[in-house]
């Protein structure tokens, strides 16, 4: 089982049908990502990084080819099954944090737990995770707009972790942060990787990419270097 990749892309293509003509965002990409890998996805704008992340996050499906996550072929899954996989297996960390504005920091972290268990968090898991990423009790009662960028991203990391996903997808997680805060977030991600998470990171910053164990460079929808 140790040799079975956690994520497998077999000849995956994604073509967008635009008015100006077809645009191939991913062009026959094949790739294996093993459990507990730490992968950096790099490449210029329009190289297909975001499209790749959308595929890995099952927000989108390939036009052709096969994508397996945790041994399951995404193409054969219903919408509800994909939703549940996003909820249970994947933790998403976005560049713009994307916290739910109407909920407090604590509720944002509690939210995925409620989705999964259909009840409020009574285990104190959300509080523990917030403390682990450096958000104290007082701050956790604040709405996202009352927090700094670094604090919001910490809350977003706690939210991504709360359902104990195997995969962490980080789409430029330091892109909206100052360098110092960015490194603090990267330290947290490194710690999570050490704890056994599979981390996939999209970044433009070579220094941030250095945290990863290996880097995949995308160009025009193809893997240029792995």
């Amino acid at each position: 089982m140790a040799d079975t990749p956690l994520i497998r892309l077999v000849d995956v293509s994604k073509v967008y049908h635009l008015e100006a003509g077809d645009f191939t965002a991913l062009d026959h990409v094949s790739l294996d990502i093993m459990e507990n890998d730490f992968v950096a996805l790099m490449g210029p704008s329009g190289s297909g990084k975001s499209t790749m992340m959308n595929q890995l996050g099952i927000l989108d499906v390939p036009t052709s080819g096969e994508l397996y996550i945790a041994g399951r072929n995404v193409a054969g899954m219903t919408n509800l099954e994909r939703t549940h996989m996003r909820r249970d297996t994947i933790g998403y960390i976005f560049q713009k944090f994307y916290l739910i504005p109407l909920l407090s920091a604590y509720e944002n972290v509690e939210y995925p737990l409620i989705l999964k268990y259909k009840k409020r968090d009574t285990t104190g898991k959300a509080t523990a995770l917030l403390e682990a990423v450096g958000i104290d009790k007082e701050m956790s009662a604040h709405r996202p707009t009352q927090l700094s960028g670094g604090q919001q991203q910490r809350v977003a990391v706690a939210r991504a972790l709360v359902n104990e996903p195997k995969i962490l997808l980080c789409d430029e997680p330091t892109g909206n942060l100052d360098r110092r805060t960015g490194y603090q977030i990267m330290d947290i991600l490194c710690g999570l990787h050490k704890d056994g998470k599979t981390v996939i990171l999209v970044t433009h910053d070579p220094k941030i990419a250095e945290y990863a164990h290996h880097t995949i460079r995308l160009e025009d929808g193809r893997i240029a270097e792995s």
Partner: protein, 403 residues
């Protein structure tokens, strides 16, 4: 446990409270409109039914002809008399026999009158004083005793500020000699009485005075037969028909009772109620458009939030539920306030339009308030269906990209 989607909806409504309140006002007005209109119509029906059922034991017999002129002038259609004659009255008495407790011939015509130089117009009834108290109630004063005594209806008494002892000049103001009557009693309000003797805006005099003034002795525009047992009313009507309307093609008299009038009036009032309810319904339709608009605005403003919810594993049904809750909350606020408003405004409108609120709290009437509230909430939820569906079917990638 509080549903987090309900919490999100409550917070969204609170965040946009001004917009939410404005949208809810539409529902408030809509609910008040349909509840008040419904209650008004029902109160009218209940009052009419009550008034008509007071004369449920009365068979009303009128000549089966269009009366062309005042009684006694004998300007009638070619086929039948405009009055019930003495012979016909005798036949009615024979036909009704022991079924009738009383047979009351009623003279009536429209007349002008003057009170302290203020002119007026209304019906004048000539009835044997011995029969008056058998179907009319004197609220104030006594029955007719003297030759020039008269009773007046409650409306006429109020409008002309008449008191016992007041005198009224009766007859056309252009005619030279006008007789005067003295008011000895004021009658209780009768409304749309089943026996067609509508005394509220009328003067009642003795039959002798009437004949002396208007002539036409033993020529009655109407005869009331009061039956002993209401169950025998149809049988009595059949006996009278057999006796008087011997030729079915050319009937001599028209026979009716409260039930025929009741069904006819109830049917008319019911149509009216439906019509005014439909008008109220239009305001609810306008409110529905406003709720739909607010819900669409809410969806449009929260596209990115919807994208976040979907991308971190929220089911489409849960997103749909969140927006339906929002519509439901707007409905609860609007319809709740509308319900309270209906109680106050409905009560005032019914009191003003009908003059009594004794039927207002009866189940048939008050049911329009919970019904209106329920309709208001359902309308809100229906208005939220499409926006909720649209929110739940968004592409999470496109939704996340939106600013």
């Amino acid at each position: 446990m509080r549903d987090i989607f309900f919490d999100l909806s409550v917070r969204s409504v609170r965040l946009n409270y001004l917009r939410s309140i404005l949208a809810s006002i539409g529902i408030v007005i809509g609910v008040i409109a349909i509840s008040t209109m419904g209650m008004l119509g029902t109160n009218m029906q209940l009052e009419t039914k009550d008034q008509l059922s007071a004369g449920a034991d009365t068979v009303v017999i009128t000549p089966d002809a269009v009366r062309m002129g005042p009684p006694g002038s004998s300007t009638t259609s070619s086929t039948a008399s405009s009055v019930i004659t003495k012979t016909q009255l005798l036949k009615i008495k024979q036909a009704a026999g022991s079924n009738a407790s009383n047979i009351i011939p009623v003279y009536s015509t429209n007349t002008e009158f003057t009170l302290s130089s203020i002119p007026g117009r209304g019906m004048i009834y000539g009835i044997d004083p011995d029969h008056i108290t058998e179907f009319l109630t004197i609220e104030n004063g006594t029955n007719i005793v003297g030759a020039n005594d008269a009773l007046v209806g409650s409306t006429i008494a109020t409008n002309f500020n008449l008191k016992l002892g007041s005198r009224i000049k009766v007859g056309s103001s252009t005619s030279g000699s006008r007789s005067e009557v003295k008011i000895v009693g004021i009658l209780k309000e009768r409304g749309q009485a089943a026996d067609s003797v509508r005394t509220d805006n009328a003067i009642v005099v003795s039959d002798d005075w009437y004949v002396k003034e208007y002539g036409g002795k033993d020529e009655y525009p109407q005869v009331n037969v009061i039956v002993k047992n209401v169950d025998n009313i149809t049988g009595t009507e059949e006996l009278i028909t057999a006796k008087l309307n011997t030729n079915a093609k050319t009937p001599v008299v028209r026979i009716s009772d409260a039930s025929t009038q009741l069904s006819s009036i109830t049917s008319t009032l019911s149509t009216m109620t439906t019509f005014i309810l439909a008008i109220g319904g239009i305001s609810l339709l306008v409110a529905a458009t406003s709720i739909f608009n607010v819900m669409m605005m809410s969806v449009t403003e929260r596209v990115q939030e919807i994208g976040i919810l979907l991308s971190i594993g929220t089911e489409t049904g849960e997103v749909r539920r969140m927006f339906l809750y929002e519509a439901f909350i707007l409905g609860i606020i609007g319809a709740g306030l509308g319900g309270i408003g209906s109680l106050v405004i409905g009560y005032s409108v019914v009191s003003y339009m009908i003059g009594t609120t004794e039927y207002f709290f009866l189940p048939d009437s008050i049911v329009y308030i919970p019904a209106g509230v329920l309709i208001g909430i359902v309308v809100c939820i229906i208005s939220g269906l499409y926006p909720a569906w649209r929110a739940s079917n968004m592409d999470p990638i496109d939704a996340l990209r939106s600013e």
